[in-house]
Symmetry: C2
Subunit: 359 residues, 2 copies
Amino acid sequence: MELTERKKKVLRSVVDLYIRTAEPVGSKAITALPDMKYSSATIRNEMADLTTMGYLEQPHTSAGRIPSAAGYRLYVDELMAEYRLSIDETRSINTAIEEKMQKVDKLVEKVARMVSQATDLPAISMASRAANATVKRFELILAGSGSFILVVMLSNDEVVNKLIKLPLTVTDEDLKLLSALLNATMTELPLEEFTAGLMDRVMRSAGKASSLVPVIVEFTTDTLRHSGSANMVVTGQSRLLGLPEYRDVDKAQKVLSGLDEDALSNLPAVMQNTNGTKVLVGPENVSAELKDTSVVMTKFDIGDGMQGMIGVVGPTRMDYAKVTARLSYFAESLSKMFGKPETPQLPEPVAEEETPKEA
Amino acid sequence: MELTERKKKVLRSVVDLYIRTAEPVGSKAITALPDMKYSSATIRNEMADLTTMGYLEQPHTSAGRIPSAAGYRLYVDELMAEYRLSIDETRSINTAIEEKMQKVDKLVEKVARMVSQATDLPAISMASRAANATVKRFELILAGSGSFILVVMLSNDEVVNKLIKLPLTVTDEDLKLLSALLNATMTELPLEEFTAGLMDRVMRSAGKASSLVPVIVEFTTDTLRHSGSANMVVTGQSRLLGLPEYRDVDKAQKVLSGLDEDALSNLPAVMQNTNGTKVLVGPENVSAELKDTSVVMTKFDIGDGMQGMIGVVGPTRMDYAKVTARLSYFAESLSKMFGKPETPQLPEPVAEEETPKEA
DNA sequence: TTTAGCACTCCATATCCTTGAGTGCTAAGC
DNA sequence: GCTTAGCACTCAAGGATATGGAGTGCTAAA
């Protein structure tokens, strides 16, 4: 059967209405739309066709139609009108970002909160470090007799540290020597080369401080191993319960448990080869628990070779146009903010942080 | 009216039963209990008394009784039988801790997940840094021309760092000088002394690197300001929905939104002067959203002057005995693990807290 | 002081009915 | 040919009514 222009128009109307009302859409409701010049009977025929073509579904004989997954897919890909953010919306997103981004180290969490608030849906936010990092530099800082701080700088400019306490006394001198040794032997190495053999060699050269080596090596390999893994936050789950489709507690629980589990761990894989915004409709989704929901995700650039992803989870009938618009705008603003450190037009040192407010 | 032993026994039975069934408890159900030697009429009289005394409530005339907040309070404080953890339970908690604790920096999150799983309720986990910290030491590490890493060591042995990129070239020499200056002038100072005047003086002495000072100072004050603030994670919200009292979506939403908001920010204050485990029943609770739920919280020691708190949120009829037992055991195990400096394979003398030992 | 008995209350559940929105189909109109 | 008015039919949602049963309070007897 041919998917005529009129059929598309009807389909779009059905989806639009269903997104607004969450109720099955009848032929009469379509007729009432401003630029629908046909009678309800004609619409009924078109809707019957769309149903046999698989774009619409009927909960029961005497109900209106609701879009099927395929219907949403078509809608998202071709039919939906682009949503233009109002100036108000862009402004409120911008000020939100400015206000909240004082402390960058909570980036992931903050972004999740903001996105959740902006869309009134649960939001996912994650940042993944660049994979396959190597160590660029070790620093050992004395912190008192018997304890020191290990600082490991990675090739992706990430820095991790750890306070290590040992039952032996170390001097500043010991640490200087040891860090020189570490920097000479264990930098620029991929994870695979951190073998027992390497550790042995280093320990043998380390002399007095050799007992520190295992702790350091363990922490380092651990860091390298987990570099590249994602750091994910989900917030705003309770917003789901405000939606009519989740008045059914069982449904709600299924979805929520799909959200706070590590069930989302393959999201990064799904987004691997995508640029920009991706919409996963219902069954296309990452996990079984989410098969009755949709996920809209988009990437952004955090700089330093790191990537961020933000997304929201909602019912399949969510307002894709609005959500994708807001999400993209978020991603764009964040990319602008973090992606390019090389745009210092302020004499003010531009770190990842902003505006010293001390007068 | 006198609260006789028999009344207490009845009250305990009512609470026990209600915890199990989530249904109002009638006089007959009490009679059916193994060591109840009285008839239902007698029990009825006792229950009527307990109702007028405010320990029980009646949803409607012809229903059984449910405990009031005061009833739960009494139950928790005096009546409940101590729950003894089985060997299985202690073992599974221990292995969970061992497995998951590889990476300490995700402590808070991991703990929340484990506790939530162990109790089948939403869990809260937080770690608060010691308040009123001062800076013990600054370190500046070159990370490439135009960028360096600022490491700030606090008096509570916490270490924070930040990668700073600047549009000017800094040499290793510059950084050495600057860090000496910082360590000479800005360590051991409480937050209040970080004034504009101080910054001016430092900048004037800093010479070539003076433009770095504002960024450093800002980051430092920010760190000090947020030191003492808590780092909180809530997980397992969806577990609530499995409970009969939250089949009502509106109730569920209220509670959930009370959980993922910052509504919990005054929990630390509530726990301030408590040691061990605290039970907040219903209206005693931290926020209005949680007034129909109970919170069980307990502290543990992370070492380095930092404190952790774990807790769960559940319906007022939750199994207090079981929950508090598991929570305490968790807290104890974690204290053992972190409370003392990290001494590889040295058995340590630990914790003087009371020990629910395995049977 | 305890208990058996009884009348009473009120919720929960099931059943039945009505209502109305929506459909598919047919036949007439353009 | 396409479109539309009309009609019979279906089915879920909501309201009203009846019924069963769990539980109570009270009284009087043991």
